[in-house]
C-alpha cells in the first residue's frame, strides 16, 4: 500500500510543481473550444444539430484527458533517461505496485486536468444536461484517464528514448483523438471512418462522457462503460507486463 501511495503522490507533486506544463496543456483545449466551438457553431446549428459547444465540450474534455494521460504514461522514458527509474527498479517492491501507483497518479492528474477544461467550457457557454449525472461523468473521465496512462506506460516501456515520440504523437495519439467522435457526430459517417471509430477506445469514452454531461449519446452508456472497462483492464495488464520486463 505504501508503495502505491508514494508513487501516486510523486505524480501529483510533479504535476503540481510544473505550472508551465499545467498551463501549457490548457492551451490546446482552449483553442479547440474557441476556434472549433465558435467557428463551426453556426453551421452546426443550421444543420439542426443544436448547440455545437454542447456537443464539442465533452470531446475536448476527453481530449485533454487523453493527452495528459498519455504524456504521464510516456514519462517512464524520462525516468529512464534521467536515471530515476533505476531507483524504483532495484527496490524490493513488485513492479505491479509501482505500475499501479504510477497509473493511479497519472489518472488522477489527468482527471484534474479534465475538470479544469470542463470549468473552462462552462465559461464558453457549455450547459450541463443533468447535474445528477456528474459523478457518472467523473467515472467516465477516470476510466479514460486510467486507460491512456496505462497505455502510455505500455508504449514507453518498450522504448529506450524519446526519438519515437513524434511517431507516437502522430500515429497513435492524434488518430485516437480525431477518430473518436470528439469533434463530429457518429451518425451517418462513411463506412471506413465509422469502422475506425468503432475500433477507437476513446470513442466509447467520449460517447459515455457526452451522455453523462448532455444526455445525448450514440451508443448505450452501459455499452460505453463496459467496453471502456474491459479495454482499460487489458491496457493495465499489458502495461504491467511490459513495465515488469524493463531491463536497463
Amino acid at each position: 500500500m505504501g508503495v502505491i501511495y508514494i508513487m501516486w503522490l510523486r505524480q501529483l507533486k510533479k504535476y503540481w510543481r510544473s505550472k508551465p506544463r499545467m498551463i501549457g496543456s490548457l492551451g490546446q483545449p482552449l483553442l479547440f473550444l474557441v476556434a472549433l466551438g465558435f467557428g463551426f457553431g453556426p453551421i452546426y446549428q443550421k444543420a439542426a444539430g443544436g448547440s455545437y459547444i454542447d456537443f464539442l465540450a465533452p470531446g475536448v474534455i476527453a481530449m485533454s484527458i487523453l493527452f495528459t494521460a498519455m504524456f504521464t504514461g510516456i514519462e517512464v522514458i524520462w525516468d529512464r533517461q534521467f536515471g530515476f527509474l533505476k531507483e524504483t527498479l532495484v527496490a524490493p517492491v513488485s513492479r505491479k505496485d509501482i505500475m499501479i501507483g504510477r497509473t493511479l497518479g497519472g489518472a488522477t492528474v489527468s482527471v484534474f486536468q479534465g475538470i479544469v477544461v470542463f470549468l473552462i467550457a462552462l465559461l464558453f457557454g457549455f450547459r450541463v444536461g443533468n447535474p445528477i449525472l456528474i459523478p457518472a461523468a467523473l467515472l467516465f473521465m477516470f476510466l479514460i484517464a486510467l486507460l491512456f496512462t496505462a497505455f502510455g506506460t505500455a508504449v514507453a516501456s518498450r522504448l529506450e528514448d524519446m526519438q519515437a515520440f513524434p511517431l507516437i504523437m502522430n500515429f497513435i495519439i492524434m488518430p485516437i483523438f480525431f477518430l473518436s467522435g470528439a469533434l463530429f457526430p457518429l451518425q451517418g459517417l462513411p463506412k471506413g471512418i465509422a469502422i475506425a471509430a468503432g475500433f477507437d477506445p476513446l470513442t466509447y469514452g467520449v460517447d459515455g462522457l457526452r451522455w453523462a454531461l448532455t444526455g445525448i449519446s450514440h451508443f448505450s452508456p452501459w455499452l460505453d462503460m463496459g467496453v471502456l472497462a474491459v479495454i482499460t483492464l487489458c491496457a493495465g495488464i499489458v502495461g504491467t507486463w511490459f513495465f515488469s520486463k524493463i531491463q536497463i
Partner: protein
C-alpha cells in the same frame, strides 16, 4: 538459503553477458566475503557496470550463476533487492522532488516504519551535510551535492551490502574522505560489505581489502592491493593496474542504454 548465512555475500561463477555479438562480460568468477571492502577495477567499457547491473537484478545474465546474500538475482529478485543498497554511476534522483522527498520515497520503497524513517533521513542528511537544504528541489543541487544525497539515500535501509559505482566522481577530496570514513565505520560496526568501482587507484589502494581487475569482460587478477603490487613489481596500485591492463585508452561501449547516455552527455539532454 540466504539472509543470515555466513557464506560469501556475493559469489559469481562463469558469469557471462552478451549483447548480440558483443560480449560485455565473459565468464567471470569471483567472491566477496561478508563485511569485505571489495574494489572492482577496470578501464572504461571493461564490463564493470554490466556486472553490477546483473548483481543488482537490473539485467539478466546470459550464462553463469550468481548469488547475492545467498539468493539468485535472476529469480529471487525481491530477496536480493532487500539486501543491498546502491549508488549508481549516473544520477538516479528525481530532480523535481526535494532532497527529503527523495529520501522518504526510498525509505517507503524499503518499507521502513515511519518513526525510524524520519530519524534516519535526518541523521543521514546531516552526515552528508545537506540538512539545511533538505527542502530544496534536487534540480537546484550541484553535481557533488547530488552525489552526496545519493550516497545518503543508499544507506537509509542499512543494507548488508553496498554497491558504489564510481562514487567519488565529482566529489572533492574532503567529501570523498568523509564518505569513506563513514562507509568504513558502517563496515566495522554493522559489518556492511562494500562493492565499489573507481578510477582513483589511490582510493582503491587505501580503502579496499581486496581488488579484482577486469578488462575486456574478463577478470585478469584478484588479490589484496599488496599482492597485486608484488606480483607486478609495482610500487603503487596504479602502476600494477596499468601493467595488467595496458596503456591504450578505451571507448565506453555500447548497449543501447549506454549509447543513449553518451548521447545525453554530448548533447545536454
Amino acid at each position: 538459503m540466504g539472509g543470515e548465512t555466513i557464506g560469501p555475500i556475493i559469489s559469481v561463477e562463469r558469469l557471462t553477458k552478451r549483447f548480440g555479438a558483443f560480449t560485455a562480460v565473459d565468464r567471470i568468477s569471483f567472491q566477496v566475503e561478508q563485511g569485505e571492502l571489495f574494489a572492482f577495477l577496470g578501464p572504461n567499457g571493461a564490463g564493470k557496470t554490466t556486472t553490477i547491473k546483473m548483481l543488482t537484478t537490473l539485467l539478466r545474465p546470459t550464462e553463469g550463476t550468481l548469488r547475492v546474500d545467498g539468493f539468485d538475482p535472476a529469480h529471487e529478485q525481491n530477496n536480493v533487492r532487500k539486501s543491498f543498497g546502491i549508488v549508481f554511476q549516473d544520477p538516479s534522483l528525481d530532480d523535481e522532488l526535494t532532497a527529503y522527498e527523495n529520501m522518504e520515497f526510498h525509505a517507503v520503497l524499503y518499507s521502513l516504519p515511519k518513526a525510524l524513517r524520519t530519524e534516519r533521513i535526518l541523521h543521514l542528511l546531516k552526515f552528508v551535510q545537506l540538512a539545511d537544504r533538505k527542502d530544496s528541489l534536487v534540480k537546484t543541487f550541484s553535481g557533488g551535492m547530488k552525489r552526496r544525497l545519493e550516497i545518503a539515500r543508499g544507506l537509509i535501509h542499512h543494507p548488508r551490502l553496498m554497491f558504489l559505482d564510481e562514487p567519488s566522481l565529482g566529489l572533492d577530496p574532503q567529501t570523498r574522505n568523509h564518505m569513506w570514513e563513514y562507509l568504513k565505520k558502517l563496515n566495522r560496526e554493522e559489518h556492511m560489505a562494500v562493492f565499489f568501482t573507481t578510477h582513483y587507484m589511490e582510493e582503491a589502494e587505501k580503502v579496499a581489502g581486496r581488488v579484482a581487475i577486469i578488462d575486456n569482460g574478463k577478470i585478469i587478477d584478484t588479490g589484496t592491493p599488496a599482492e597485486l603490487k608484488k606480483k607486478t613489481h609495482s610500487s603503487t596500485l596504479e602502476q600494477a593496474f596499468l601493467s595488467l591492463t595496458g596503456h591504450s585508452m578505451r571507448d565506453e561501449a555500447s548497449t543501447g542504454a549506454e549509447r543513449m547516455r553518451l548521447h545525453k552527455r554530448m548533447w545536454g539532454r
